[in-house]
Symmetry: none
Subunit: 195 residues, 4 copies
């Protein structure tokens, strides 16, 4: 049944879109499974046909979002020709663009609430691990300041990015994209103080 398969995929897609929208506006735990089904235009039972449980839907959304984000970020890592400053700038640009294009997804992806859902511990750890690996490589290449711990720095940089972006998605009018990028880059590259 090709039509049936298409319909199944379509149903799953609608559930995920409903999840992205509702999780973004109410948070995961405050989103009722009936509300998800209603928003997706299906019966509650259908949710459990496509996902193990509500957290399964959240996990699918977040993982898919994470993969998409990491795929984009991966393009930077591959380009060995870039110097450190350029790589940082590219990374920031990618994250800001991602936030602009998929704000609903990002609100859930960067949402600190998700910490309690064990999913995002995985997500955080993956994101941090990537940053950590990069810092380790840079340290090996002598690019990193000697006093800096790659592990700590990775946490700090990720925290800085997620916290700032999460705020910016909710309050997009508080800063324009260029200022946001410039500030985050400057902070990472040479601190905020004039020299």
């Amino acid at each position: 049944m090709n039509a049936r398969e298409r319909s199944k995929i379509e149903t799953r897609r609608r559930l995920m879109e409903a999840g992205i929208a509702l999780f973004a506006s109410r948070g995961i735990s405050d989103t009722r499974s009936t509300a998800l089904a209603e928003a997706a235009g299906v019966a509650v039972g259908t949710l459990y046909l496509h996902f193990k449980d509500k957290e399964g839907l959240a996990r699918a959304i977040l993982m898919e979002g994470l993969e998409a984000l990491l795929a984009e970020l991966g393009t930077v890592a591959c380009d060995a020709a870039l110097d450190v400053g350029e790589a940082v700038r590219r990374q920031t640009d990618i994250m800001i663009r991602f936030a602009q294009e998929r704000p609903g997804l990002c609100r859930t992806l960067f949402d600190p609430e998700a910490v309690r859902w064990q999913i995002s511990t995985e997500i955080m750890d993956r994101v941090v691990a990537i940053q950590e690996r990069r810092f380790f490589d840079q340290a090996a290449a002598g690019l990193l300041d000697a006093a800096v711990s790659p592990r700590v720095a990775a946490r700090a940089v990720v925290g800085m990015l997620l916290f700032s972006l999460n705020w910016w998605i909710i309050h997009p009018d508080e800063a324009d994209a260029e200022t946001l990028a410039a500030t985050l880059n400057r902070l990472r590259l040479s601190g905020v103080y004039a020299r």
Copy 2:
């Protein structure tokens, strides 16, 4: 009756300590009101005699913790003689010491879960506002880099600190206090890269 009043204060204190311990280990929403009462050695009703509801206890704990932290941080702000680098280093030291001395409190205070509890929006906003004011003053004094937005930078720095400290409290063995301090300071003062 003075004895009665003392006993009431003592009961409240025990409830708050039970809250600090349980909220730290299970999070606010996963801590049952009965567990709080049991841990404090009182009946459930007593919790509601001292606080409006479970969130009221959380709010009291967080607010008291916040005040304590801000009071310590305030000593830095007052010392106008400090140069920027010294002020940053002092601030970091204070936060790390606070985290070491009151790890349970900090786990709840810096815990992103609290975001969903509306309490910590207040807390975050207060912390960010303080950092923001400091940056504005420094900008006025020409200390800040021109490209940097005080508002964005305040969010970024607070996110960096809270995210890192929250991680460090949970995994204290991943880094020693000096490395943590050195990395956070270096990042804020001149970025992580060698120059």
Copy 3:
């Protein structure tokens, strides 16, 4: 699914019957939601699937009962050919028969406790309003004594009927239906005293 719909309606019916029986014997506030569910042979949650809350069930029962009673009483109002005495007698007969046929429902419907449930303010007001309208019409037709206020008389007559019937349902052996009817009619039509 038609079978499913039928089952849903059947479940609702059983909840309402459980409500009629339990509310009649214990009153609304002394009837536990679990008792209602148990009596209806369903889980507690099912009660809240069909009604907003316990009061919602009570409201549904009372409103349905009221509609049934008013429908029967309406037949009298329509028969314009009846003289005053005959109309009163018919009305009394209808109410007594209704009380005999659905004693459980009437215990709740006429139960003064319901006053506190805000529901029966509506019920009382509707019943009184009907009687009031009738009295106003009769006053306009010169049938009413000049000293009589239709508004007050309506309250008095309704109070007389409800209070008497509520008592009679609980103590059916204290008077037979004919005596009850005769006394209530005589009181309304020409007072209780011989002339």
Copy 4:
């Protein structure tokens, strides 16, 4: 200790006044014992020093009110010289005056909610019993219509009076005292219809 005794009586009086006011405005079950104590300016424990429990306070208030009302009504019964019409008129006047002078007390005394409190079953029964005895006497004297059951008529008359007065206390502007009295008297003495 004469001063102590006086103080005790005074405390009891304040509790009863608090009860009259709060029971009238919120009903018995919706009045918290702490609210009673607060309104009386004493501690909760004091309530239980003067009354067995909350219902005990309600009982005391209602019984005292009932005795006062019956005492006034008793003056009519004693005056054997009165003819039936005059006795009815006097009784109505007394009840209306009582309602005007002590509206708070009457709201609780005539409040149908009290039915569920077992207290008012006693009260109702006493009031009805008095009316019943009067009707039996009148029946023996040949004053009552032959078709009328004294027992039923007593219920009907009491229901009529209580229901009407309870309404009038809450909505005093819907009718003036004279119209109220005239209507109630006319209904009892010769029905509401013109002849």
